[in-house]
Amino acid sequence: MSEKMINGAVGMLQVLEEEDVDIIFGYPGGAVIPIYDALYDSKIRNILPRHEQGAAHAADGYARSTGRVGVCLATSGPGALNLVTGLANAYMDSVPMVAITGQVKRHLIGKDSFQEADTTGVTIPVTKHNYLVTNTAELVDICREAFYLARTGRPGPVLVDVPFDVSIGDVPWTERNIEGLDGYEQPKPVDDELIRRAAQMIDEAKKPVLLIGGGVVASGASEKLLEFATKCNIGVIHTLMGKGAFPESHELSMGMPGMHGMAYASLALQNSDLMIVIGARFDDRITGDLEKFAPGARVIHIDVDAAEIEKVRPVRIGICADAGDALDKLIPACKPRDKGPWEQQLFEWRRTHPLTYPTPDEGIAPQYIVEQLYELTGGSAIIATEVGQNQMWAAQYYKLEKPRRFLSSGGLGTMGYGFPAAIGAQVGNPGELVVDIAGDGSIQMNQQELTTASINKLPVKVVILNNGYLGLVRQWQEMFFDNRLSGVDLTGNPDFAKMAEAHGGVGLRCAEPDKVRETLEQGLEVNDRPVFMDFLVHKEENVFPFIPAGKSVDDIMMEQPEKQK
């Protein structure tokens, strides 16, 4: 039996082609030169970021916005280690990604060789799985397995570490056969009995709510969710990761709960008697004090990852299933239900607890900028965010009607995520409007990617809510540390508009409220290069509502407390 042999690097790229990968985000170095050599003849396009962290976040943004597996590539040692934050970020938010890293030659492993790092060792806790390819016969199948693991079940990043001599040498080419991996359990068919009991519980509930998360987006179950919610007339509360999975303009949309969520969403959760949780994981930013969190609610928890069920909150019914599969069964099983006093109460809370913000004496209200962006774009943009106040204002004021249009570092809270993620999203969605809502601190964490956007003519828009502070940290210091501001002053920020220009982009600056619209209009028009719109906002603006960490909705602050004189 003679096997067909193929160059290792070429074989890897062929697997990528089998997986319909046409774009990767990668940065070369000694250990991956064989792969770059194979790319020379390949149809696959390599987008060269200016830092490997940018490559990882771009692959992540590409994946979140398209639903396909994002691919990034880095060399051994420092290159691979620069991916780590991006992997952890994707892991926390269950984003399907494959990272390929170069490794030193097999006989040099473990000898502290030049640019050697224990990449698989370092990335075990931040990947769904990883591989060090030591047996050439396994290279092709491992690459296939990596894609399969990344996109099935609960998606996540998978890393394949390939020693130089494996990618430059010949490896056997095997035919595709990866389904049914040993030890990798796909969810079993949805249990009819559990569905029957869940339907009964929903029928009996007086005050039901839906809490939906990223799992609904990952599963592509938005339409089914809409059908279910409208059939049973249940209010839908979304997590940050679930934003867009249910149309936010819908009557039943009850907003985002938690630390900086809408008060009416937190009130709805807190007072419910039944929480139907789909693809969400009871993050502490939502629950606050677990003891006090929605004490009267029974829980039906649907998640593709069995380990999420009862990880944090005990449940009455746990259904380990893909969100869409579960909804397929749940919809016909449930009786239609009319809106009742509970729903009227929800709508009442929504009326009486709207999001509001004061008009500042000085500077522009950052919330106003996001509102204007929303109006100008009709809610049609793909929104990336950085981390901090900017992220929360984006989540609060930019309403979305569709999934895969809100790219935000939910689990890890990675400053510097948004801009490269927006680049990845623009690459994956060439005709779409992609906007990164940024802070002046965060944008500086991956600003080098301006070059990447310029070179590739990617018209990513960056709206910088420039408050001259690490605003969210400043807010905590103001409220909980006697306003002893320490390490949060960003005085000396560069001129962001000039910086964009210096990188071949467009730079705009706006310091007055009545120029906001004009500036946005001007920026949104650009279609062949990146744009930085630097908005000088009210420096001391804080995010409200605010439920302090570890507290409950009883402790919610709706607005700035009166300052003690």
């Binding site: 075990i124 060090l132 991996l181 030890g183 069995a306 069920i309 009862e310 990880k311």
Partner: protein
């Protein structure tokens, strides 16, 4: 030379304390131990002992894990373990009748005049004296963990120089898989 203890040592029925035993069959791949140990560390699960061994299938290893479930529900530990791609199956033996064994060796400082006394003590535990020399004896016992605890306790008075325990291993009785 190895002696086994009697049927009374069988751990029958439900375990009442917070220590539970899980058997994990894992792929015999590099780093699988690091993956399992790392999972326990980062999720803050307490392991009391971990024994790794080969099985009847050369591609598969067995990990017998004694878990202290007072901090985290055992079910959560089991599910997190099962998520690891290199873990093939995890079986919780809480409800099973299992045969449990652990081996312990103790080096004790013993005057020649005390040897007979020690020999008698070892005999009670159906253990063995497996080495004599330089003023120290090495004694060995095999049994379930409670028995090993008792064995060690009895040697405290003599001055234990060093001791080692293998960590427990179990096999489920009858048709039940381990």
């Amino acid at each position: 030379m190895l002696q086994t203890s009697g049927i009374s040592d069988f751990a029958l029925g439900k375990v009442t304390n917070m220590t539970h035993t899980l058997s994990a069959l894992v792929k015999n791949r590099p780093r699988v131990l690091a993956r399992v140990a790392g999972l326990f560390a980062r999720r803050d699960f307490n392991i009391e002992s971990l024994a790794v061994s080969t099985t009847e299938d050369p591609a598969i290893s067995r990990m017998t894990i004694a878990v202290d479930a007072s901090g985290t529900p055992l079910e959560q530990v089991r599910k997190q373990l099962e998520k690891l791609h290199d873990v093939v199956t995890v079986i919780d033996h809480t409800e099973h009748a299992v045969v449990e064994r652990e081996l312990c060796m103790i080096k004790v400082r013993v005057k020649p005049s005390q040897r007979a006394e020690v020999a008698a003590l070892v005999e009670i535990f159906r253990g063995d004296i497996i080495d004599i020399g330089n003023g120290a004896l090495i004694v060995q016992s095999i049994g379930n963990s409670d028995k090993i605890d008792a064995f060690i306790e009895n040697f405290d008075d003599y001055g234990i120089v060093e001791l080692v325990r293998t960590g427990k291993v179990v096999l489920a009785r009858g048709a039940q898989k381990t």
